[in-house]
């Protein structure tokens, strides 16, 4: 009995290693290639990345900044991961995020006067509902006529941006020159960690981070232990078999994309009620798109999303310091992101590179 137990522990450890090794290697290669690019254009990659590391983990304030930047990425990462699990590519998480932010900025003012304990949950739920609604039409089009969600959700992202741009320059514009909504009252805001324990010194990091981790656990549980999650996974794995097995593929598609939209919208909500306190055109730094990298690197595992969101959050937090101290444009982070997505997707690359050696060994000729 004991030996069997031990064997299964090693087995599980090996399985875990097998799971995390490819993404880890992808990140290392992506960092190596971007170092090369940084070096070729004449900067010092060692200085650049040590500045980046410093900016991300150098002290409590920096760690707080990493948590702050990770927060929206946990939500968008979960959104994209949930979609992928159901065989859907929610490339338009950014648009759903905008709708969440919009509802948060509106309700934060409209419900002013209620206590934080009441107002914040209402905003979170309403914002998620807005994201759900924004994903509904693309979901319906996918289920009914087969319009590819990559194009439709992308188009809805542009439409959402223009709606927000119109509202912040017109109907919802705060008095003054800058196109933005009015500042939310303090009771509509998610508390910062330092509001609760000032000694933490984590700067702008807020409780949205905790909400993100909680939601990751919820999504993991939904996928693993509920009918909803089972149906999503079944349809993502094999829609034809699922249909034969009695699962409605169209209904599952609609439910899954809407749920993905709700998760993405939460990122917009927490950016507004956790960080900015108001809505403006550029309130999202492409979090919806970075969410794709976060999800793929996590291999669509909701719990792993927390880790990969923190990785990209750290890159984002450190990139400012890198630009200041090593002069390297912070946009290099997007090169890293693109490379990571490419390398994670191209898992066959290693096999392909090792092919000549295998052939010589006679493995393939056998």
């Amino acid at each position: 009995m004991e030996r069997a137990g031990k064997a299964s522990v090693t087995h599980r450890l090996y399985g875990l290693l097998e799971q995390i090794a490819p993404p880890l290697v992808s990140v290392v290669i992506a960092l190596a290639i971007s170092s090369l690019i940084i070096w070729v254009v004449g900067y010092d990659p060692v200085r650049a990345f040590s500045a980046l590391f410093d900016g991300a983990f150098g002290g409590p304030r920096q760690i707080g900044e990493t948590m702050l930047r990770s927060t929206p990425l946990i939500f968008t990462g979960l959104a994209v991961a949930y979609g992928f699990r159901a065989g859907l590519f929610n490339i338009g998480a950014e648009g759903q995020l905008f709708m969440g932010g919009l509802v948060a900025a509106w309700l934060g003012v409209a419900l002013a006067g209620l206590p934080t304990m009441v107002i914040v949950p209402i905003i979170l739920v309403a914002g998620a509902a807005a994201g759900m609604a924004w994903a509904f039409i693309p979901a319906l089009l996918k289920a009914r006529v087969g319009a590819h969600e990559v194009i439709t959700t992308m188009m809805f992202t542009f439409i959402a941006r223009y709606i927000v741009s119109w509202l912040v320059t017109g109907p919802l514009k705060a008095p003054g020159q800058i196109p933005q909504t009015v500042q939310l009252p303090a009771e509509s805001m998610l508390p910062k960690f330092t509001d609760i324990l000032p000694e933490l010194g984590t700067g702008r990091a807020h409780l949205g981070f905790v909400v993100g981790i909680a939601l990751a656990v919820v999504v993991w549980w939904v996928l693993k232990h509920t009918t909803l999650g089972y149906e999503a996974r079944a349809v993502g794995f094999n829609p034809w078999a699922s249909e034969t097995g009695g699962i409605s593929v169209s209904l599952t598609t609609v439910k899954s994309l809407c749920l993905s939209g709700a998760l993405a919208a939460t990122a917009g909500v927490t950016e507004v009620i956790g960080l900015h306190g108001r809505l403006f055109d550029q309130f999202s730094a492409g979090f919806g798109f970075t969410g794709i990298a976060v999800a793929l690197l996590a291999r669509n595992n909701p719990l792993a999303v927390i880790m990969t969101a923190m990785l990209f959050g750290a890159l984002s937090a450190g990139s400012g310091t890198m630009q200041l101290q090593a002069d390297v444009p912070s946009k290099v982070v997007f090169i890293i992101q693109g490379l990571v997505v490419f390398l994670v997707a191209a898992q066959q690359l290693a096999v392909w590179l090792l092919r000549p050696f295998k052939a010589r060994g006679g493995v393939e000729n056998a």
């Binding site: 690019i37 254009v41 590519f89 490339i91 039409i137 693309p138 089009l141 009914r144 006529v145 087969g146 319009a147 590819h148 990559v150 194009i151 439709t152 992308m154 188009m155 809805f156 992202t157 542009f158 439409i159 223009y162 709606i163 741009s165 119109w166 320059t169 017109g170 798109f289 794709i292 990298a293 793929l296 444009p329 946009k331 290099v332 982070v333 997007f334 090169i335 890293i336 992101q337 693109g338 490379l339 997505v341 490419f342 997707a345 191209a346 898992q347 066959q348 690359l349 392909w352």
Partner: protein
């Protein structure tokens, strides 16, 4: 008022705006006909637009920029072909990676080369091909002016695209090359059986679509705007994919669909000029092309049939 809106310059603008969409859409057509989905048209267009401007900054001649833009599009396409054909990667994910990468590369090298983010300095543009003297008086003068504005006022890539759409449409349905290309997307195994190399065929189709997307970028920066702005493609690659579907995976249809989008956009720009008469916020006009794309997809997709093997890696066996 209607004559204000439907003036000849609206039709001329429609043709100009349609050009990058059409080039990318035909690129998508060729790529998907060969069985490979190309979501990365957006990134290839953006990269081409940027590299084109940088090349002109150094070389001074806009034609150098056009070739550089085509090469830039092709270089990202090579990445996509390698991933989707050789490595059998998920084509949509590989395309997304290239889109993110193109955004990063252009933003990064913009700051490295130009020294600041945002927009580059203006570069010399390609000039209109024809320069006929327009008679100012006479019986035919007004009609001649219409023809001159609508058909004779354009830059080289605009004409090249029309010509190319016709040739590509004919070639796809009436040449051996076209038949082979279609076979790759409909039934690669059959193509393989009769000795057509699926790998080589798909590589060349993806590379070709990259060249076209790069030229679309060159049209944006070196013919229309004259400078590069970060993220300036603004979803055109995705609209082009929709135009390809609306055009039922044919080059001629893609051009027609692109022209429809171009006309909507031109009309939108024109209507914005009448903002004193029509008091609708400009954002609603700006979102029109995107709304139109969704409407078009909603209306047409069920009835249009994609190539059977599109998006599926080919396993030799």
């Amino acid at each position: 008022m209607l004559s204000d809106i439907l003036s000849p310059d609206v039709f001329a603008a429609a043709m100009r705006i349609a050009t990058p969409l059409a080039l990318a859409a035909i690129g998508g057509t060729i790529c998907e006909r060969a069985g490979v989905v190309n979501i990365a048209l957006e990134g290839m267009m953006l990269f081409g637009a940027f590299v084109g401007v940088i090349a002109v900054t150094y070389a001074g001649n806009p034609w150098v920029g056009v070739f550089a833009a085509a090469a830039a599009g092709a270089s990202l396409a090579l990445m996509h072909a390698f991933a989707s054909v050789t490595l059998k990667t998920d084509q949509v994910v590989s395309g997304t990676a290239i889109n993110i990468l193109a955004g990063g590369l252009t933003g990064f090298f913009m700051e490295v080369i130009i020294g600041h983010p945002g927009t580059t300095d203006p570069v010399p543009r390609l000039v209109p091909v024809f320069d006929f003297p327009v008679p100012s008086a006479g019986f035919f003068a007004p009609m001649w002016r219409w023809i001159d504005v609508i058909f004779l006022s354009h830059t080289p890539i605009v004409y090249g695209t029309i010509l190319f759409a016709i040739v590509a449409h004919w070639a796809l349905f009436h040449t051996r090359w076209g038949l082979r290309l279609r076979a790759l997307g409909e039934h690669p195994r059959a193509a393989d059986t009769v000795g057509i190399s699926v790998v080589r065929g798909r590589y060349s189709a993806v590379l070709f679509s990259g060249v076209l997307a790069g030229l679309a970028g060159a049209n944006l920066t070196l013919e229309q705007v004259g400078s590069f702005t970060e993220g300036m493609t603004n979803g055109r690659g995705f609209i082009a994919l929709a135009a390809n579907i609306f055009g039922r995976w044919t080059p001629g249809g893609s051009y027609g669909a692109a022209l429809l989008f171009g006309f909507a956009e031109a009309l939108q720009t024109k209507l914005q000029l009448l903002r004193d008469v029509i008091t609708i916020p400009s954002q609603f006009f700006l979102m029109l092309p995107y709304v139109l794309t969704v409407v078009v997809l909603a209306g047409v997709v069920g009835r249009a049939v994609a190539p059977a093997a599109v998006g599926k890696p080919y396993e030799k066996g």
